[in-house]
Subunit: 160 residues, 2 copies
Amino acid sequence: MSATTQTQHSMTTPGDRTIQVERIFNATRERVWKAYTDPKLLAQWWGRGNQVDIERYEFEKGGHYRFVEHSDHGSHGFEGRYREITPMERISMTFEWDGMPGYPCVSTAEFHDLGDGRTKVVSTLQFYTPEERDGMLHSGMEGGMAQSYAALDALLARMS
Amino acid sequence: MSATTQTQHSMTTPGDRTIQVERIFNATRERVWKAYTDPKLLAQWWGRGNQVDIERYEFEKGGHYRFVEHSDHGSHGFEGRYREITPMERISMTFEWDGMPGYPCVSTAEFHDLGDGRTKVVSTLQFYTPEERDGMLHSGMEGGMAQSYAALDALLARMS
Protein backbone atom coordinates (compact mmCIF):
# COMPACT_ATOMS: atom_id res chain seq x y z
CA MET A 1 0.00 0.00 0.00
CA SER A 2 1.40 3.40 -0.87
CA ALA A 3 1.47 5.92 1.96
CA THR A 4 -0.15 9.27 1.37
CA THR A 5 -0.63 12.13 3.76
CA GLN A 6 -4.31 11.26 3.89
CA THR A 7 -3.71 7.81 5.30
CA GLN A 8 -1.35 8.83 8.10
CA HIS A 9 -2.68 9.31 11.58
CA SER A 10 -1.21 11.51 14.28
CA MET A 11 -1.01 10.24 17.84
CA THR A 12 -0.39 12.55 20.80
CA THR A 13 -0.62 12.40 24.59
CA PRO A 14 -2.32 15.66 25.61
CA GLY A 15 -2.27 14.64 29.29
CA ASP A 16 -0.61 11.91 31.32
CA ARG A 17 -3.80 9.82 31.30
CA THR A 18 -4.90 10.35 27.72
CA ILE A 19 -4.08 9.30 24.18
CA GLN A 20 -5.42 11.25 21.22
CA VAL A 21 -5.39 10.08 17.63
CA GLU A 22 -6.39 12.12 14.57
CA ARG A 23 -7.05 10.52 11.20
CA ILE A 24 -8.49 11.92 7.97
CA PHE A 25 -10.66 9.72 5.78
CA ASN A 26 -11.39 10.37 2.14
CA ALA A 27 -15.15 10.04 2.55
CA THR A 28 -18.09 12.12 3.69
CA ARG A 29 -19.01 12.31 7.34
CA GLU A 30 -22.26 10.46 6.64
CA ARG A 31 -20.35 7.55 5.16
CA VAL A 32 -17.74 7.45 7.94
CA TRP A 33 -20.50 7.58 10.57
CA LYS A 34 -22.24 4.64 8.88
CA ALA A 35 -19.03 2.59 8.83
CA TYR A 36 -18.56 3.27 12.56
CA THR A 37 -22.12 2.51 13.61
CA ASP A 38 -23.59 -0.17 11.32
CA PRO A 39 -22.46 -3.38 13.02
CA LYS A 40 -22.13 -5.26 9.73
CA LEU A 41 -19.78 -2.57 8.40
CA LEU A 42 -17.94 -2.12 11.69
CA ALA A 43 -17.11 -5.83 11.72
CA GLN A 44 -15.46 -5.45 8.30
CA TRP A 45 -12.73 -3.01 9.37
CA TRP A 46 -12.44 -3.15 13.17
CA GLY A 47 -10.67 -6.51 13.17
CA ARG A 48 -8.05 -5.54 10.54
CA GLY A 49 -8.86 -8.59 8.47
CA ASN A 50 -9.57 -10.85 11.45
CA GLN A 51 -13.06 -12.20 11.98
CA VAL A 52 -15.06 -10.10 14.45
CA ASP A 53 -18.16 -11.50 16.11
CA ILE A 54 -20.46 -8.78 17.39
CA GLU A 55 -22.04 -10.56 20.34
CA ARG A 56 -23.89 -7.57 21.74
CA TYR A 57 -24.64 -4.23 20.11
CA GLU A 58 -27.11 -1.93 21.83
CA PHE A 59 -26.23 1.34 20.12
CA GLU A 60 -27.92 3.81 22.45
CA LYS A 61 -27.00 5.71 25.61
CA GLY A 62 -26.55 3.14 28.37
CA GLY A 63 -26.45 0.22 25.94
CA HIS A 64 -23.75 -2.44 26.04
CA TYR A 65 -21.58 -3.81 23.29
CA ARG A 66 -19.27 -6.80 23.08
CA PHE A 67 -16.98 -7.65 20.17
CA VAL A 68 -14.80 -10.76 19.90
CA GLU A 69 -11.89 -10.72 17.47
CA HIS A 70 -10.58 -14.10 16.31
CA SER A 71 -6.96 -14.15 15.19
CA ASP A 72 -4.12 -16.63 14.85
CA HIS A 73 -3.18 -15.64 18.39
CA GLY A 74 -6.55 -16.59 19.85
CA SER A 75 -9.80 -14.82 20.60
CA HIS A 76 -9.94 -11.42 22.20
CA GLY A 77 -13.11 -9.97 23.70
CA PHE A 78 -13.75 -6.25 24.07
CA GLU A 79 -16.78 -4.70 25.69
CA GLY A 80 -18.21 -1.57 27.17
CA ARG A 81 -21.18 0.69 27.49
CA TYR A 82 -22.27 3.79 25.62
CA ARG A 83 -21.99 7.05 27.55
CA GLU A 84 -23.05 9.43 24.78
CA ILE A 85 -24.14 9.12 21.17
CA THR A 86 -24.66 12.33 19.17
CA PRO A 87 -25.45 11.32 15.57
CA MET A 88 -22.78 12.38 13.03
CA GLU A 89 -20.81 14.11 15.79
CA ARG A 90 -19.67 12.00 18.70
CA ILE A 91 -19.62 8.53 20.24
CA SER A 92 -18.34 8.15 23.80
CA MET A 93 -18.15 4.75 25.46
CA THR A 94 -16.18 2.66 27.86
CA PHE A 95 -13.76 0.15 26.38
CA GLU A 96 -12.42 -2.86 28.24
CA TRP A 97 -10.33 -5.79 27.03
CA ASP A 98 -10.97 -9.21 28.57
CA GLY A 99 -7.23 -9.54 29.19
CA MET A 100 -7.32 -6.59 31.62
CA PRO A 101 -10.77 -6.94 33.19
CA GLY A 102 -11.77 -4.13 35.50
CA TYR A 103 -9.53 -1.63 33.69
CA PRO A 104 -11.90 0.22 31.34
CA CYS A 105 -10.91 3.37 29.54
CA VAL A 106 -13.27 5.92 27.99
CA SER A 107 -13.07 6.06 24.22
CA THR A 108 -14.52 9.13 22.50
CA ALA A 109 -14.65 9.56 18.73
CA GLU A 110 -15.53 12.95 17.21
CA PHE A 111 -16.40 13.28 13.53
CA HIS A 112 -15.44 16.53 11.78
CA ASP A 113 -16.71 17.36 8.28
CA LEU A 114 -13.74 19.00 6.52
CA GLY A 115 -16.06 20.51 3.90
CA ASP A 116 -14.22 18.98 0.94
CA GLY A 117 -15.70 15.50 1.05
CA ARG A 118 -13.22 14.34 3.68
CA THR A 119 -13.80 13.65 7.37
CA LYS A 120 -11.44 13.95 10.31
CA VAL A 121 -11.99 11.56 13.20
CA VAL A 122 -10.47 12.59 16.53
CA SER A 123 -10.33 9.67 18.96
CA THR A 124 -9.46 10.16 22.61
CA LEU A 125 -8.78 7.46 25.18
CA GLN A 126 -8.95 8.40 28.85
CA PHE A 127 -7.52 6.16 31.60
CA TYR A 128 -7.69 6.15 35.39
CA THR A 129 -3.91 6.28 35.80
CA PRO A 130 -0.77 7.14 33.79
CA GLU A 131 0.35 3.52 34.23
CA GLU A 132 -2.79 2.20 32.53
CA ARG A 133 -2.32 4.71 29.72
CA ASP A 134 1.32 3.64 29.26
CA GLY A 135 0.27 -0.01 29.27
CA MET A 136 -2.02 0.73 26.32
CA LEU A 137 0.71 2.72 24.52
CA HIS A 138 3.09 -0.23 24.81
CA SER A 139 0.49 -2.84 23.82
CA GLY A 140 1.03 -2.38 20.10
CA MET A 141 -2.22 -0.44 19.85
CA GLU A 142 -0.81 2.10 17.40
CA GLY A 143 0.13 -0.50 14.81
CA GLY A 144 -3.17 -2.32 15.22
CA MET A 145 -5.06 0.93 14.93
CA ALA A 146 -3.22 1.87 11.73
CA GLN A 147 -4.25 -1.51 10.28
CA SER A 148 -7.87 -0.91 11.29
CA TYR A 149 -7.85 2.54 9.70
CA ALA A 150 -6.34 1.12 6.49
CA ALA A 151 -9.13 -1.46 6.40
CA LEU A 152 -11.63 1.36 6.96
CA ASP A 153 -10.10 3.30 4.02
CA ALA A 154 -10.69 0.26 1.84
CA LEU A 155 -14.25 -0.20 3.09
CA LEU A 156 -15.10 3.49 2.55
CA ALA A 157 -13.83 3.23 -1.02
CA ARG A 158 -16.05 0.19 -1.61
CA MET A 159 -19.04 2.07 -0.18
CA SER A 160 -18.76 4.87 -2.74
CA MET B 1 -29.85 2.77 67.13
CA SER B 2 -27.36 4.22 69.60
CA ALA B 3 -24.23 5.64 68.09
CA THR B 4 -20.94 4.28 69.36
CA THR B 5 -17.44 5.00 68.15
CA GLN B 6 -17.45 1.56 66.54
CA THR B 7 -20.32 2.34 64.22
CA GLN B 8 -18.96 5.61 62.84
CA HIS B 9 -17.20 5.69 59.53
CA SER B 10 -14.62 8.23 58.42
CA MET B 11 -14.71 9.61 54.91
CA THR B 12 -11.78 11.43 53.32
CA THR B 13 -10.69 12.59 49.86
CA PRO B 14 -7.00 11.63 49.59
CA GLY B 15 -6.82 12.94 46.01
CA ASP B 16 -9.07 15.00 43.77
CA ARG B 17 -10.37 11.89 42.03
CA THR B 18 -10.78 9.60 45.02
CA ILE B 19 -13.01 8.99 48.01
CA GLN B 20 -11.85 6.82 50.91
CA VAL B 21 -14.04 5.45 53.66
CA GLU B 22 -12.90 3.58 56.76
CA ARG B 23 -15.29 1.61 58.92
CA ILE B 24 -14.70 -0.79 61.83
CA PHE B 25 -16.99 -3.79 62.29
CA ASN B 26 -17.37 -5.74 65.50
CA ALA B 27 -16.78 -9.11 63.85
CA THR B 28 -13.89 -11.26 62.67
CA ARG B 29 -12.40 -10.76 59.26
CA GLU B 30 -13.71 -14.18 58.17
CA ARG B 31 -17.25 -13.16 59.03
CA VAL B 32 -17.01 -9.75 57.37
CA TRP B 33 -15.52 -11.34 54.24
CA LYS B 34 -18.41 -13.82 54.13
CA ALA B 35 -20.99 -11.01 54.44
CA TYR B 36 -19.30 -9.17 51.55
CA THR B 37 -18.97 -12.15 49.23
CA ASP B 38 -21.86 -14.56 49.83
CA PRO B 39 -24.55 -13.15 47.52
CA LYS B 40 -27.39 -14.20 49.84
CA LEU B 41 -25.78 -12.29 52.71
CA LEU B 42 -24.71 -9.35 50.55
CA ALA B 43 -28.31 -8.85 49.43
CA GLN B 44 -29.34 -8.53 53.09
CA TRP B 45 -27.30 -5.40 53.87
CA TRP B 46 -26.30 -3.78 50.59
CA GLY B 47 -29.79 -2.39 49.93
CA ARG B 48 -30.22 -0.82 53.40
CA GLY B 49 -33.53 -2.58 53.88
CA ASN B 50 -34.58 -2.35 50.23
CA GLN B 51 -34.95 -5.50 48.20
CA VAL B 52 -31.85 -6.29 46.16
CA ASP B 53 -32.00 -8.69 43.21
CA ILE B 54 -28.61 -10.14 42.34
CA GLU B 55 -29.04 -10.67 38.62
CA ARG B 56 -25.46 -11.65 37.89
CA TYR B 57 -22.70 -12.67 40.28
CA GLU B 58 -19.52 -14.15 38.85
CA PHE B 59 -17.19 -13.69 41.79
CA GLU B 60 -13.83 -14.22 40.12
CA LYS B 61 -11.27 -12.06 38.33
CA GLY B 62 -12.90 -10.85 35.10
CA GLY B 63 -16.37 -11.88 36.23
CA HIS B 64 -19.37 -9.56 36.01
CA TYR B 65 -21.94 -8.63 38.59
CA ARG B 66 -25.26 -6.82 38.44
CA PHE B 67 -27.41 -5.80 41.39
CA VAL B 68 -30.82 -4.13 41.20
CA GLU B 69 -32.13 -2.30 44.24
CA HIS B 70 -35.88 -1.78 44.47
CA SER B 71 -37.01 1.18 46.56
CA ASP B 72 -39.98 3.49 46.85
CA HIS B 73 -38.17 5.73 44.39
CA GLY B 74 -37.90 3.04 41.71
CA SER B 75 -35.38 0.43 40.67
CA HIS B 76 -31.69 1.16 40.46
CA GLY B 77 -29.26 -1.13 38.66
CA PHE B 78 -25.55 -1.29 39.47
CA GLU B 79 -23.01 -3.39 37.66
CA GLY B 80 -19.33 -3.92 37.06
CA ARG B 81 -16.53 -6.40 36.67
CA TYR B 82 -14.00 -7.83 39.09
CA ARG B 83 -10.44 -6.60 38.64
CA GLU B 84 -8.87 -8.40 41.61
CA ILE B 85 -10.06 -10.74 44.34
CA THR B 86 -7.59 -11.70 47.09
CA PRO B 87 -9.48 -13.80 49.65
CA MET B 88 -9.83 -12.18 53.09
CA GLU B 89 -7.77 -9.21 51.91
CA ARG B 90 -9.04 -7.26 48.94
CA ILE B 91 -11.80 -6.93 46.35
CA SER B 92 -11.33 -4.48 43.49
CA MET B 93 -14.01 -3.97 40.85
CA THR B 94 -15.59 -1.44 38.60
CA PHE B 95 -18.88 0.03 39.75
CA GLU B 96 -21.38 1.73 37.45
CA TRP B 97 -24.88 3.00 38.11
CA ASP B 98 -27.48 2.68 35.32
CA GLY B 99 -28.33 6.36 35.83
CA MET B 100 -24.82 7.39 34.72
CA PRO B 101 -23.96 4.73 32.14
CA GLY B 102 -20.42 4.84 30.81
CA TYR B 103 -19.12 6.48 34.00
CA PRO B 104 -17.66 3.59 36.00
CA CYS B 105 -15.49 4.11 39.04
CA VAL B 106 -13.13 1.57 40.57
CA SER B 107 -14.20 0.38 44.01
CA THR B 108 -11.58 -1.33 46.17
CA ALA B 109 -12.32 -2.78 49.61
CA GLU B 110 -9.47 -3.89 51.90
CA PHE B 111 -10.13 -6.00 54.97
CA HIS B 112 -7.84 -5.49 57.99
CA ASP B 113 -7.89 -7.88 60.96
CA LEU B 114 -7.50 -5.64 64.01
CA GLY B 115 -6.44 -8.62 66.16
CA ASP B 116 -9.17 -8.09 68.76
CA GLY B 117 -12.07 -9.73 66.95
CA ARG B 118 -12.81 -6.56 64.99
CA THR B 119 -12.21 -5.79 61.34
CA LYS B 120 -11.49 -2.50 59.60
CA VAL B 121 -12.72 -2.17 56.02
CA VAL B 122 -11.03 0.53 53.93
CA SER B 123 -13.02 1.31 50.79
CA THR B 124 -11.61 3.48 48.03
CA LEU B 125 -13.45 4.84 45.02
CA GLN B 126 -11.41 6.10 42.07
CA PHE B 127 -12.93 8.23 39.29
CA TYR B 128 -11.73 9.44 35.89
CA THR B 129 -12.25 13.11 36.76
CA PRO B 130 -12.70 15.38 39.82
CA GLU B 131 -16.16 16.28 38.45
CA GLU B 132 -17.27 12.64 38.51
CA ARG B 133 -15.90 12.27 42.04
CA ASP B 134 -17.76 15.38 43.18
CA GLY B 135 -20.94 14.11 41.54
CA MET B 136 -20.72 10.98 43.68
CA LEU B 137 -19.98 13.02 46.83
CA HIS B 138 -23.11 15.10 46.26
CA SER B 139 -25.33 12.12 45.37
CA GLY B 140 -26.16 11.30 48.97
CA MET B 141 -23.76 8.36 48.88
CA GLU B 142 -22.46 8.99 52.40
CA GLY B 143 -25.87 8.70 54.03
CA GLY B 144 -26.75 5.65 51.99
CA MET B 145 -23.46 4.04 52.84
CA ALA B 146 -23.97 4.67 56.54
CA GLN B 147 -27.33 2.91 56.27
CA SER B 148 -25.73 -0.04 54.48
CA TYR B 149 -23.04 -0.32 57.14
CA ALA B 150 -25.64 -0.20 59.91
CA ALA B 151 -27.52 -3.04 58.17
CA LEU B 152 -24.22 -4.92 57.93
CA ASP B 153 -23.62 -4.40 61.68
CA ALA B 154 -27.01 -6.01 62.35
CA LEU B 155 -26.34 -8.89 59.96
CA LEU B 156 -22.90 -9.56 61.48
CA ALA B 157 -24.49 -9.70 64.94
CA ARG B 158 -27.05 -12.25 63.68
CA MET B 159 -24.26 -14.35 62.14
CA SER B 160 -22.49 -14.82 65.50
